[in-house]
Every structure is written in structure tokens, then in C-alpha cells.
Amino acid sequence: MSQGPVLELRGINKSFGAVQVLHDVAFSAYSGEVTALVGDNGAGKSTLVKCIGGIHPSDTGEYFFEGEKVHVGGPRDAAALGVEIVYQDLALCDNLDIVQNMFLGRERKSGLVLDEASMEEMAAKTLDGLSVRTVTSLRQHVSSLSGGQRQTVAIAKAVLWNSKVVILDEPTAALGVAQTAQVLELVRRLADNGLAVVLISHNMNDVFAVSDRVAALYLGRMAAQVKTSEVTHSQVVELITAGRSGELGIKNDNGAAA
Amino acid sequence: GGDDGGTTAAPSGAPAASGASIGKIGVILPDSKSSARWETADRKYLKEAFDAAGVESDIQNAQGDKTAFQTIADQMITNGAKVLVIVNLDSGTGKAVLDKAQSQGVATIDYDRLTLGGSASYYVSFDNEKVGQLQGEGLVKCLTDDKVEKPIIAELNGSPTDNNATLFKNGYDSVLQPKYDSGEYVKGPDDSVPDWDNAQAGTIFEQQLTQQPKIAGVLAANDGLGNAAIAVLKKEKLNGKVPVTGQDATVQGLQNILAGDQCMTVYKAIKKEADAASQLAIALAKGEKPAAPASVKDPESNRDVPSVLLDPQAIYFDNVKDVVTDGYVTKDELCTGDFAAKCTEAGVS
């Protein structure tokens, strides 16, 4: 199934002031596959995702989409390409309700007027598929939601659209057992439908359960990007914590993070 | 002072009952900050006059806010005023109020300021250009007394948004401009003071002095601005050497004159003005149509407005006592501390 990658980054560098967070990172995502992006806390996973989403401009580096070089100057560019992202810090507007958040920036209209009814209908359908039982009303402000409910809303928001790439930054962190299973199932389903899915997770079981490829970041460097079937559980953990594992990984590791 | 007690007491007496006899008189004063006179003098004298005549009155202050001015007028008409005495904030709102009153059958008097194009039955005032003229002449007198050659004059005008400040300036410029033109005097910095704000006046004058260190005379449009200039001059011990003018005959201004720091002030015998206005108002309330000694032509509508015009008086060291004699300022207020000796010297008793 794997032709060229739908999304490809090369040589990404990113610094915040004096601190260099990403060092010459290369990363690809393929249609129909789930790519797991793993790495220790502070490895730079979320920063990489934000560079992909146009939240942070990267200092240097190239961005290819469907083989063509593109410039992503902001979130609108990324969305226009068909890249949907669930950020780790769940960018929701606390003063809006669930439906409003889910359709933010892409409201359905009939004429000039918002089509609240159809938005509510679609939102309910999507959330139903994610096993949320305790939400009393779709018109509840997201500020009053529990941690897991917020996360579910953020996920539902991202999968509502017809996109080509879906990136989920630790989507199951706050989810319960049933909800986690649903989300993993959803991830698989999205990939099977031909989308490229990037999943960031610290849970190795989840990673091995759904992913086709694993990309491991170590202190801001890409340690390895391999097929999941070709590595073992402990190899991946070694890549995460030490940056290399046998053949794989960063060759000349000097351990300097900054 | 002591105005608050009196006015708050008045409306608490049942308004409808006693007002039935000859109707109520409403007075709208313009503000409380451009000059001390409105709250300290006009309110007091008008109130006294109305009370003495047993007429019910309602005296309010618009605090320099045109909207408030119109609101108060609406409220007075609502409250059943028979006569409205207004000091307009500007001719536009003034005219709006006068026209509305007239349409409701309420008689009106322009007090102190003529509403151009308005419909007031009477106009009672001091001549504001005359005030300015006295200030200009006063400055010339003091400079002549000091025998200053080719003095550089700084002007501290009133608020740029206050039409009266423009009138004052017209007055003193009518005296000073010929002297500038003839080269007898030199025109120095010339600035307006927003809101007649004394603190800003201090900064403005300090900068005038920095810009033009040889300023030899200051035309300050009122006592407060004058005092601000004097405060700056004091730092360089130039106070008393550079004459400063004023207006309103405030305690502060008079004390500055006694101390020799201020050249002159302009005293407007507000009691006379208030008495004239209140007499007209009472007569109107009674349904009479009193005669007026003079008339003023409204330049906008070319209407001859029946008028009572009063003369302002220039006050120098020698005639400070006139203000005290008039009762406008008491000796107790004026001759505190160090000023007791000066008072004696100036013949204040």
C-alpha cells in the first residue's frame, strides 16, 4: 500500500530563544498507515506537530505534501492541505459549548445564518461513536467538562472533517478504558479508509496495537523511523530512553540536548 | 461655601404643594471646575434671593457635560419649572434647551452667557470680552509700573474647548496685539490649558519658560492658572518680578496679589449679577413682563435680546479691599497667617 509519503518533513530545526528543541528532524507519514511518534517527555514531539500544523514556524527545513514542496505559514495553510491535528493542550474555547467548539472555524450555514440544528445532529453522531456517556448536554460549555470529556471533544472535532492527514497528540492520555479502545479503533478505521494517521503516545501497548510504523524522537533528534513489525517492544523503549538500540538509532550520541 | 446644606434641604420640602403658588424656578449652572464662582457664589446668591422671595428653586450643575446639561433641563421641565435660568455650555445645547422650554411654555433667561440664535427672554451678564480687556490693560499697567523694556509676554489661555476662554482671549489680545504690532511688546509663547487644569498649566508654563527664559509678563486667564505660573516662577525666585494676571478674585488670587506675586485679578460682582437674574426670574414666574435696561444684539439671529449688563472690575493691591467690602470674600478667609500684615497694608478691614 505504501507509495510515497503524503506528508514529509526534512531537516527541521526549531529553537525557542537559546534552546534548540528540534535538530535536523526528518519525518514522513503515509496514506493508509498509522505512524506512531514516540519519545520521552520533552523530546520534541508536540513541537514537531506544531511545526507541521503551522502553529510555530520552523527555523529551517522543508515541508512536502503529496510530493510537492509547500509553505505552511499558519494553521489555515495546514487545514487547507487537509491536515487535521488534535493538540496535546486541546485548543478549545472554554466560553463556547461542545457543538460550537467542534465546528469552530468551519460552521455550517444555511445562507448567512448558522445551521445549528444540523451541526448539533452531526456532533451528537460523532460523539456517540466515541463512547461518551456522561455528557449531559451538547450545549454544555467545555469549561465544565471532565478531562476525558474534553479530550473526546477535541478528537471528535478533528475527525469530523474530510482530511488527508490526522495527527493525534496523546489522544488517549485522559481517556478511560472503553474510550481508549474506541479511539484506537477509530484510528485504525481512519487509516483503513486511506488517511495518513500520526499517533503520539507513551503507551507501548497502544503503539504496537495500531501502528504500522514507529518514529522515535530522542532529545530533539529523530532516532529512527521503522516499520512496527520489524522492531520489538523493548527496542522501541530503548530508542526512546537512550536514542539507540543495536543497529538502530543515533550513531554518535553525545547526549547534548540543548 | 456652605452651599450643600441649603440646596439639599430645599427639594426635601414637598415640591408640589408650595410650588402651586407661583411656580418653581430652575437654574442650570455650567460646571464646577472652570471657575470656583458657580458653586461658591452664584449658587449661594441665587438661592438666597429666591428663598428671600419665598420662591421655590432648583439649582443644578451640569459639570461641564452637555448631555447632563440637557438631561437636567428635561428634568426641571418634568419637575414643573415655570422659569429656566441657564448658563449654557455651548450655544447648540443652549439653544436646544431654550427651544424645548419655550415649546413647553417655560420662560427662559440666559445667565452670564448669551445663547447665540437662542430664544431666551432675557440676558443677564458680565461682558466676557471686557474681562479679557481688563486683564490686558492690567498687565500693561504692571509692566509699565515696573518699567520693563520690550517685555516678552507669555499667554496662558483657558481651556481650548471653552468658548468663554476664546472671548477672554479676544479681549486681552485686543489690548496686547497693537503693542506686539508696534514692537513695544514681544509676543512669547501662547498656549491653551486643557480643562483649565492647574496641574497641566504648571507644566505648560514651565516649558514656556524653558523655551523662552526671558518671559517678562504672564497673561494668565484666571487665578488658578496664574497661581500655577507663580509656583513655577517661585522656583527661580522670579515671583513678583514677572507680573501675572488672573480672574475671579479668588482667595488664592487675592492673597497672591497681597504677597506681590500677582499683578491683578478681575472681580465680577456676582451678587449683582445673581440679584438681577433672580429678580427677572421671580417676575417671570409671577407672570409679569419686566422691562430691561439694555439690549444686546444676537449676531446669529439679529434679535435684540433684552439685557442686564454688569461691569467687571480690575483688582490691584490697592483695591483688594473692595472685594472684601462687597462680601465676596471674607476677611477671615483672606487675612490668614502672614497675610494679616499685608491686609492691613492694603487697607482691608
Binding site: L96, A178, A181 | W38, D65, Q70, I77, T166
Partner: protein
């Protein structure tokens, strides 16, 4: 793993009026007070003033209230857009002054017809808004500083336009009519009936559509109640305003709804519609609630910012026209003194937050009414200048205190 029915779904059919009323009481107890506190404060004020001064309750005074408060309400309505973003516009007062001056200069000095002058004033407002908004959004200068600079600058421009201290009279009867004339009684009744009917129609239509799609909708009894309240309240207001209020009706008859009232009502409807029913309005709230989240959602945050300033200055221009009409003139103080503070205060008293994300167009009307009632009532009391300031301040605090105390529960349930 289980796919139980959502409680939501269970509730969907539970649309009886009692369930609704119960829900409303719960919401109120839970701190979602909406318009209640401001209305409550308003009623307290009106009762106090009516007791102290019976003249407060006359039809004439009722009519005055509207014209007195109109300019502040209109300016506050525009400010709400800026406040919703968590920004501030200190210059809105003087912007209204500048626009009024443009109007006056065009009318009186240049002799243009009234519609040209009004257009010129409005265009001025829009231009001001674009300038302020761009400085804030594009250069990133804090709005407080930009509008403080504008506050000073506009004061100067106003002075230059009206040439130092004088004032420009307005004699155009159309403009003067805005704040000084009334709608013929018969017209106001017709408009009222049509308006209520349209409102009822929209409500019913929407409920039908939601029910058609199987969504929870307002019960018909509630809709009937809403329509009825609207009809009664506005009916009473129109009735009172249509009473004769001239003091000598023989000379001149004075009755009818002041023309500013329909203007405010139209503006209120338009902006409420924009804020609640359009994507643009949604984006305003989103940017005010969380600008970064909005940016990530693909909203053009800069454009939203600029547009809010444009609306604010545009509304200021309308406020300026109303003020000019009411004052029959424009002078260098138009839009000055406390106009801005009262406008912002009106919005905040109405329930708009200065931190952004929370507010409605109605807040301007409710808060503006509080401010207008206070000024109107104080005008009847006959205090001296100093005392009046003190009492006005205290009354404002009282009105806001009633509001705050009735909102206390909101904090205790964890929603601020």
C-alpha cells in the same frame, strides 16, 4: 464498549414547559443569570427614584430617558465587540465626537444634504476603526495604548474641525428629528404588531425545524410565554410613550415613541443576530475566549480584531450623530467628558466581561438603561455638584452591588 443511550437522548423528548422552567431555575441557581441582575438592579433604582420623586414616573420623563441614554447605549453596543475580544477602545467617545463634527461641518459649513453628511460621518467612523484595528492587530501595540493615543489625537482633530472652542449648530430638520421628534402613534402600533408577529413566526419556525430533525426544542408553551412577554412589555412602553406628555397640549402636542427608540431596537436586533446567528459572531466569541485556539481552528484572528474595531467606531459614529442631533450642535466636548467611561461602564454593568469572550448586544441596552436612569433620577434630586457626584457614585455602586450579589452563586459553583 457498551453503547448505552446518551442521557442526552433520553432527555430529548422531555420538552414540557415544567421541565423547562425547572431547568431555568436550576440554571439561575447555578449562576447563569443572563439579564436578571441588571434588570433587577434597574427595577430597584426605578422604585427608589419613583418613591423619592413622583415626577420620575411621568410619561414625559419616560420618554426623556430614551433620548438621554441613546448615545451612550449606541456607543456601548459597539464597544461590546471590542470588549468581547478582551480589547478596549478608549477613543470611542471622541471618535463619536469627530464623526459628529464631520457631520456638522458637512451640513452647516459645506451645505451638503443630510444623507451625504450622515454617510460622511459613518465613513469617518469606519476609517477610524480600520486604522485603530490595524495598529492593534497588525503591529501588536496594546489596544489601551493605541486608543489612548487616538483619544488624544481625536480631541485635537475635533478641536481643529470645530475651530477652537466655538461650536457648529445643526439646523437640518432631518438630523434634528432623530433625537427630538417622535414616531406617529399609529405607525408605532403597526410596527409593534408586525414585529411581534415576525418574532413569533421565527420562534415557531425554528422549533418546528428542530423537532423535525429530532433535536430538543423549546416547548410551545415557552415560546408562547416569550412572545406574550415581549408583546406586553413593548405594548405598555408604546402605550405610555403615545400618551400626551406636553405640558400645554394646546400649543404643542408631544406624543409618540422617540425616533431614537426604533433606531436602537434595529441596531440591537442586527447586532444580536450577528453575534448569535452568524459564523462571524461565533468567531468573535471564540477569539475572545481563546485566541490561540481560534487561530488553530483556522480563524483569521487579525481580521476579526480589525472588524471589531471597525464596528465599534462605526457605532460611535452613529452615537455621534444622535448626540449631535440631541445637542442641536457639535462642539469640542462632544463625545468627551465621561461618555466613554459611561459607555464601558454600561457594557460591564450589563454583564460584559473586560477579559473577553462574554457579552451580548443587549448588555449595552440594559447597562445603558441603568446609567441613564441614574443620571435621569439624579437630575430630579436637586443636589449640589459635589453631593451629586458622591450620590451618583454610590447609586452606581448600589446597582452593581445588587448585580454582584445576585451573581455570587456563579462563583460558588466554580464558574466565573
Amino acid at each position: 464498549m457498551t453503547t448505552e443511550t446518551l442521557p442526552e437522548q433520553q432527555r430529548r423528548n422531555d420538552t414540557s414547559i415544567t421541565a423547562y422552567a425547572g431547568g431555568y431555575v436550576d440554571r439561575v441557581r447555578g449562576g447563569e443569570l443572563g439579564a436578571l441582575p441588571a434588570v433587577f438592579g434597574l427595577i430597584v433604582l426605578c422604585v427608589i427614584f419613583s418613591i423619592l420623586r413622583p415626577a420620575f414616573l411621568t410619561p414625559g420623563n419616560f420618554a426623556n430617558l430614551f433620548t438621554q441614554g441613546a448615545a451612550v447605549v449606541v456607543i456601548a453596543m459597539g464597544l461590546i465587540f471590542v470588549l468581547l475580544l478582551g480589547e478596549i477602545d478608549l477613543s470611542a467617545g471622541y471618535a463619536s465626537g469627530v464623526c459628529a463634527a464631520v457631520l456638522a461641518v458637512s451640513l452647516t459649513n459645506q451645505g451638503y444634504p443630510w444623507y451625504v453628511a450622515v454617510l460622511a460621518a459613518m465613513v469617518t467612523g469606519v476609517v477610524i476603526g480600520v486604522a485603530l484595528g490595524s495598529l492593534v492587530a497588525k503591529l501588536g501595540i496594546p489596544s489601551f495604548v493605541v486608543t489612548l493615543a487616538a483619544f488624544l489625537g481625536f480631541q485635537g482633530i475635533l478641536l481643529l474641525l470645530v475651530k477652537g472652542g466655538t461650536n457648529i449648530s445643526i439646523r437640518d430638520t432631518t438630523i434634528l428629528a432623530i433625537a427630538n421628534k417622535n414616531v406617529p402613534p399609529i405607525v408605532s402600533w403597526i410596527v409593534l404588531v408586525v414585529g411581534v408577529a415576525v418574532y413569533a413566526g421565527i420562534q415557531l419556525f425554528r422549533a418546528r425545524r428542530r423537532i423535525g430533525r429530532g433535536l430538543k426544542a423549546d416547548p410551545f408553551t415557552l415560546i408562547a410565554f416569550r412572545v406574550l412577554s415581549l408583546a406586553v412589555i413593548s405594548g405598555v412602553a408604546v402605550y405610555v410613550l403615545n400618551l400626551e406628555r406636553s405640558r400645554n397640549a394646546l400649543i404643542v402636542s408631544l406624543k409618540g415613541v422617540p425616533i431614537v427608540v426604533p433606531i436602537i431596537v434595529v441596531l440591537l436586533i442586527v447586532w444580536t443576530f450577528v453575534l448569535r446567528r452568524t459564523a462571524y459572531g461565533r468567531h468573535i466569541y471564540a477569539v475572545g475566549g481563546n485566541a490561540e485556539a481560534s487561530r488553530r481552528a483556522g480563524i483569521n484572528v487579525d481580521r476579526i480584531r480589525i472588524s471589531a474595531f471597525v464596528i465599534c467606531s462605526f457605532m460611535a459614529s452613529i452615537g455621534g450623530i444622535i448626540a449631535a442631533s440631541r445637542a442641536n450642535s457639535v462642539d469640542p466636548n462632544t463625545g468627551g467628558s465621561d461618555v466613554l467611561l459611561f459607555a464601558v461602564g454600561a457594557a460591564v454593568i450589563g454583564g460584559t466581561s473586560l477579559f473577553g469572550g462574554k457579552g451580548r448586544a443587549l448588555d449595552a441596552v440594559l447597562g445603558g438603561a441603568v446609567v441613564a436612569v441614574i443620571q435621569n433620577g439624579m437630575g430630579l434630586m436637586g443636589y449640589s455638584a459635589g453631593v451629586k457626584y458622591v450620590v451618583t457614585g454610590s447609586v452606581l455602586l448600589l446597582a452593581a452591588g445588587v448585580d454582584a450579589l445576585s451573581r455570587r452563586r456563579a462563583a460558588s459553583t466554580g464558574r466565573r
